[in-house]
């Protein structure tokens, strides 16, 4: 857990300069979201190098195009949010980043996804090796039907990680901000935890294997606001050591936690009527929510569509 006074200070320091003058026609909701952006505890970030370079990516399922021509970069030590209406392909794109789409036999990915300059879909790249480095947290908490301890230890064990397992488990649970709540019942079944605890356990489980990126697919959509708050706080902490890509339906969440936002939309193809997702705008979150350059982004974040 963070020291609350510390993050409060940062909030006070960074508050003013982030508050851009609202444009006249903006709705109240947009102002509220802009407020969330301004109030977000933004640590001075030192954007590192490019970690993912996505170039002209198309994804299709059984011959039907789902996402077309996605291109943008994801940088180290930033939280990148993917937002947009249902069916716009944001989760589909997220699953390209750790090759989870490979598990669906009908899925096909074209274009290039470079990870530290190496093509993830190159012929000699093994999807299992990819997933060892790029962790994932899912929409619904999915603890294994085992003890809390064994949930965390599973990843390090299958990866053959060296070191004292008790220490690995404790470190992961501490990083996942769930240690204090479970330290006395590590041997009990993870199914006995609350939904919010389960999701933090899943985050801790992903951290236990020391990945350098965490992909989160709507990690808070099944949780109450208090659990959501804890996970958002955790994400801001994790940004120090990891890069995070998060898919969210909650625009306030994107505004609160992310540094960069990519806005997706879904449009019917002219000829077939097949609905295909694409990226409309990709920019700094602050700019996106206060001064979007595309009409469609503004319509979506102000709540006029979607």
């Amino acid at each position: 857990m963070t020291d609350p006074s510390h993050s409060g200070e940062q909030r006070a320091d960074q508050g003013q300069d982030a508050a851009a003058p609202p444009r006249g026609e903006r709705s109240q909701r947009a102002v509220a979201i802009a407020g969330a952006v301004a109030g977000h505890a933004r640590r001075p970030r030192s954007p590192g190098g490019v970690i993912f370079s996505i170039e002209g990516v198309d994804v299709s399922y059984g011959g039907k195009l789902a996402v077309r021509d996605v291109s943008f970069d994801i940088r180290e030590h930033e939280i990148t949010a993917l937002i947009g209406p249902s069916g716009c392909g944001k989760s589909t794109l997220l699953r390209c980043l750790n090759r989870m789409n490979d598990l669906i036999p009908a899925a096909k990915v074209t274009g290039t996804v470079d990870y530290h300059g190496q093509d993830l879909y190159g012929p000699q790249v093994d999807a299992v090796e990819v997933r060892k480095r790029i962790g994932m947290v899912f929409q619904k908490p999915n603890p294994f039907p085992k003890s809390i301890y064994d949930n965390i230890a599973f990843g390090p064990r299958v990866l053959g990680m060296k070191g004292e397992m008790d220490e690995i488990v404790e470190r992961a649970l501490r990083r996942g901000a769930v240690w204090d709540e479970v330290k006395d019942r590590l041997k009990t079944n993870a199914f006995g935890m609350s939904g919010g605890q389960q999701q933090r356990l899943c985050i801790a489980r992903a951290l236990a294997t020391d990945p350098d990126v965490i992909l989160m697919d709507e990690p808070c959509s099944a949780l109450d606001p208090i659990s959501t708050g804890k996970i958002e706080e955790l994400m801001t902490e994790l940004r120090e050591s990891y890069s995070i890509v998060i898919v969210t339906h909650n625009m306030q969440q994107a505004a609160r936690v992310s540094d960069i936002t990519a806005f997706f939309t879904v449009e019917a193809e002219d000829d077939s009527g097949n609905r295909v997702g694409r990226v409309v705008e990709h920019d700094e979150t602050e700019k996106m929510f206060t001064n979007p350059s595309d009409q469609r982004t503004e319509a979506y974040i102000t709540g006029r569509v979607g």
Partner: protein
């Protein structure tokens, strides 16, 4: 607007009558079961004793006659069946659920044929066992191994079907969670899917064994003996409880031995074994089944 009243009298009568018919059907099957159980207990109770379990069958002394050879033969057979069906059945279920692409024609054909195999009459398996396990180049003769493998083939589809259901009941979110941590497909199956499916698989195995334990026809075809006065081994000839019962029932009582009464007692023992196995299966399912 009128008040909400009761349903028309005719509709209520029809609903009541339908419910009555359903209950009567249920009652009939439960009644038959009770009649069978009571009849078996009443007929078999008289001669049951420890001696009955530990003595070999005898044709001239009723009090010294027992089912030792048949009981040991049945235990040996079940051992062979279990050792055969668990690995083969579970491996087949894992392949079909986790690896096979069900859109390919040969995988669909295998699935349909497993359903069909479960419906093949048991005597056909007996003939198969006779041709390939008793006689022929790999034939073992009329031994426990051949009988056990024949029964194993017979109940293998039951294990495969139960195993597939248990594996399918493990949600895909568990597989995804495991794969996302960098586990291979085999590690995911070995360390996540199979442990979660074990209660369901074990239940299926016990139900398969409880079907095999009562089978008579295939054992007759593969040449189970009717009179055995030694303890069987894997490569010895053998008898089994259903065979012993079948033999005793066919013999008219003489002045020394009431063979039908012995048969009734053996039936009681077989039924107690069956009920015990099914109880374990139900207990396993209730105790260890994972709620997702």
């Amino acid at each position: 607007m009128s008040a909400i009243g009761s349903a028309p009298r005719a509709a209520r009568l029809r609903a009541g009558a339908f419910r009555g018919v359903l209950l009567a059907c249920l009652g009939l099957s439960v009644l038959m079961l009770v009649v069978i159980l009571v009849d078996i207990v009443l007929d078999g109770m008289d001669l049951i004793s420890l001696n009955f379990l530990t003595n070999y069958a005898s044709t001239f002394n009723q009090d010294e006659s027992g089912i030792r050879a048949a009981l040991l033969g049945t235990i040996w057979l079940m051992g062979v069946v279990a050792v055969f069906i668990v690995p083969v059945g579970v491996a087949t279920a894992v392949y079909l659920e986790e690896y096979a692409d069900s859109t390919r024609w040969f995988n669909r054909m295998i699935e349909v044929n497993i359903q069909n195999l479960a419906a093949v009459p048991s005597i056909v398996y007996g003939i198969l066992g006779l041709a390939f396990l008793v006689r022929g180049p790999f034939g073992q003769g009329n031994v426990v191994l051949a009988g056990g493998l024949t029964l194993g083939l017979l109940v293998l589809p039951v294990v495969i079907i139960a195993g597939r259901e248990a594996i399918r009941a493990v949600p895909s979110s568990i597989r995804e969670g495991s794969m996302a941590l960098g586990a291979t497909q085999w590690q995911t199956i070995r360390r996540q899917v199979l442990p979660a499916a074990i209660p369901g698989i074990a239940t299926g195995v016990i139900l398969a064994l409880s079907r095999a334990i009562g089978e008579t026809a295939p054992l007759i075809v593969v040449g189970a003996a009717t009179f055995v006065a030694f303890d069987p081994g894997l490569f010895s000839s053998f008898t089994a409880l259903p065979i012993q019962i079948f033999d005793w029932i066919g013999r008219p009582p003489n002045e020394n031995v009431d063979f039908p009464a012995l048969a009734a007692t053996a039936i009681l023992v077989l039924m107690i074994l069956l009920l015990a196995m099914n109880t374990v299966a139900i207990w396993l399912r209730n105790r260890y089944e994972q709620k997702w």
